[in-house]
Structure formats: C-alpha cells, structure tokens
C-alpha cells in the first residue's frame, strides 16, 4: 500500500501520458522522447551525486560545514556558496539533495539560498550561452540584479525558516545525530 502511495504521482503521470497518446499523439511522442532523454541523463548523473553526498555525510564533520557555510560564516560563507553554485555541475535537480545534506550538516538557509540561486541562475556555462544569444549588457544587468535579489531572498528565508522551522528538518536532524554517533563507534 505504502509503495503504491509513494509512486502515486508517477502512476498518475503514466495515465496522463496514455491520455495524451490518444488525443495528441504528436505531443505524446515528443514528451516521451524528452522524458527518455532526461531519464538517461539522470541515470548517469544521480548515482555518483548521491554517492558523493554519502561520502560527504560520512567524512566531513559537522563543525567544518558549520564553520564554512553556517550562520556565522558571514561574507566568506556567502562567497563559498556563490562559487560552489556557479561551477559547471549539471541541472538544478542535482543541487536539491546536495543542499539537503549541507543543511543537515549545519549550513545556513541564507547561504543555501545563494547556492541554489547561483546554481540555477548564475552558472558560468549558462552565462556564456546567454551572452551569445542575448548580448553582454542583458547578461550583465540580469546577473547583478539576480545576485542582489538572491541576497534579499536568502535574508528573508533565513529569518522565516529560523523562526518557523520545517518539521522535516527536526526529524532529519535527529537522524543525523544518530548517524554521527554510529560513525563515532566505527572509528
């Protein structure tokens, strides 16, 4: 039952695809080929990303991440988050599990908003494509405005999520504590 529930959304999508195949076969064929293309990309990218996150979980101590990216990391923390985000490292969905791991390890919401935002909007290879097709002034203005916006959004998210933390974080925080105790024992 719980397995069915977990996969409810993909199953619904399957029906949408089936409906589309009947009513709009052209769109269905295009959708299927796009989905297949993305599936191949994900199958190639997601396993190594998750293993990297596993290594990070096991090897990098919490106080290090807290020092580099935590609430007290200041300008340096924001700089690290920005630099990490702009590296050419693939699509945004790769960044979500990374962000989750980093938050569990003590990174601040402010820095993680900048990280995600830079990943999505300020990636170096993407900026090069943008410059080519929309011009250098468009790209530069959008870059600076987006960076300013990210700082503001990060500030608001830090304030709001500190005051009203998500229940999921408290639970995973406890799980993290348990994992860490286990890691101590295996040493």
């Amino acid at each position: 039952m719980s397995t069915v529930k977990k996969f409810a959304a993909p199953i619904v999508l399957l029906f949408v695809f089936a409906g589309l195949a009947i009513w709009l076969p052209d769109a269905a064929a295009r959708s299927a080929s796009v989905t297949w293309g993305y599936f191949k990309e994900m199958a190639l990218i997601m396993p190594p990303v998750f293993i990297l996150m596993g290594l990070l979980e096991v090897w990098v101590p919490k106080d290090k991440i807290q020092k580099w990216l935590g609430s007290g990391s200041g300008l340096k923390g924001a700089g690290i988050a920005l630099a990490l985000g702009t590296l050419p490292t693939g699509p945004l969905y790769v960044a979500f599990p990374m962000t989750a791991t980093l938050i569990r390890k003590g990174a601040s919401f402010f820095n993680m908003t900048i990280f995600l935002g830079a990943w999505a909007a300020l990636k170096i290879p993407q900026l090069m494509v943008e410059t080519k097709f929309l011009g250098i002034s468009f790209t530069l203005v959008r870059f600076s405005l987006t960076l300013m916006a990210l700082l503001l959004i990060g500030f608001v998210m830090e304030k709001v999520l500190r005051r009203y933390p998500d229940k999921a974080w408290i639970e995973s925080g406890e799980k993290q504590a348990v994992l860490e105790r286990l890691a101590q024992n295996t040493k």
Partner: protein, 159 residues
C-alpha cells in the same frame, strides 16, 4: 557533458581517498547513498515525467506563438508563467529568447521569461519539496517569482 565528466572525476578522487582511509566508512557512505537514492526515486520520476510533458506540449514554436501573439504587458505575464512552469535546457532556451527578442518581443518580456525560467521551478517542485521541505520550496519559489518580475520590470526600463 562537462558536468558529467566533472561529477565522475570528483567521485573518482573522493572514492580513492575514502577507500584508502577506511573501507568500512566507504561502505557506509554507499549505504547512505543507496537509501537516499531510493527515497528520492519517486520524486525524481515525477519530475522527469512532468518535464517531458511540459516540453512535449510547450514546444519552442508554441511558446513563440503564445508570447509573440501579444505585445506588451500580457506577453510579459504569459512569458513569466511559461518560464516559471517549465524547465528548458539553456541551449534551447536562450536561442529561443534571442529569436523572440529579434522578432519584436520587448526586453521586459524576454527578461521575465529568462529570469523566471532559471529561478522558479514548478516542474522540479516535487523534488524540491521532498528534499528540502514544503516550507523551503514554497518560500524560495514564491520569493523568486516576485524577484523575477521586479527584475524584468527594472530591465525593461534600463535596457
């Protein structure tokens, strides 16, 4: 492709270092990774399906028709809605934005499209919610949408 090479290079270096230090801990890292991957699988598949559907239905031609049909404010709103919902690879999105700009769309419309496209992710939301929680995902996307519209407004005036 660079991204794939980079990720695998990182993985190679990390794995060698980890194996040299402790095999037990490396095995644990794999266990943590496997569990996390299984937990994320349903939302990954969902995102995959939705991305495929939106891109299959909203082809560059359809987007051009929708955005190009109306000039001015309506076009900007349509562009930002399309940008917020879809996840279009930048190698497709920027040429499309460029051709829209040349065929008469305003800078405000194009920047609304580009900024919402990169900052707001409705199709990736199931995964964002799964990994980072409802509150985080909702807040980030809502604030990003507002920011994108403001940025589009400013760019329309500036450029």
């Amino acid at each position: 492709m660079t991204a794939v090479i980079m990720i695998y290079a990182l993985l190679g270096v990390g794995l060698v270092a980890s194996l040299l230090k402790s095999r037990a801990r490396t095995a644990k890292a794999f266990k943590v990774a496997g569990k996390a991957l299984l937990k994320s699988a349903p939302s990954l598949l969902t995102v995959l399906g939705i991305v495929g559907l939106t891109l299959g239905i909203l082809t560059p031609e359809t987007i051009t028709r929708l955005v190009g049909a109306e000039a001015g404010f309506t076009a900007t709103i349509i562009a930002s809605v399309i940008g917020a919902i879809t996840l279009i690879p930048s190698l497709v999105a920027f040429p499309l934005a460029g051709s829209l700009l040349r065929s008469g769309a305003t800078v405000m419309t194009i920047s609304a499209f580009v900024t919402t496209l990169v900052m707001v992710g409705v199709v990736t939301a199931p995964m964002e919610v799964k990994e980072l929680g409802k509150r985080f995902a909702l807040l980030r996307n809502a604030l990003s949408l507002i920011a994108a519209l403001v940025i589009a407004g400013i760019m329309g005036v500036l450029l």
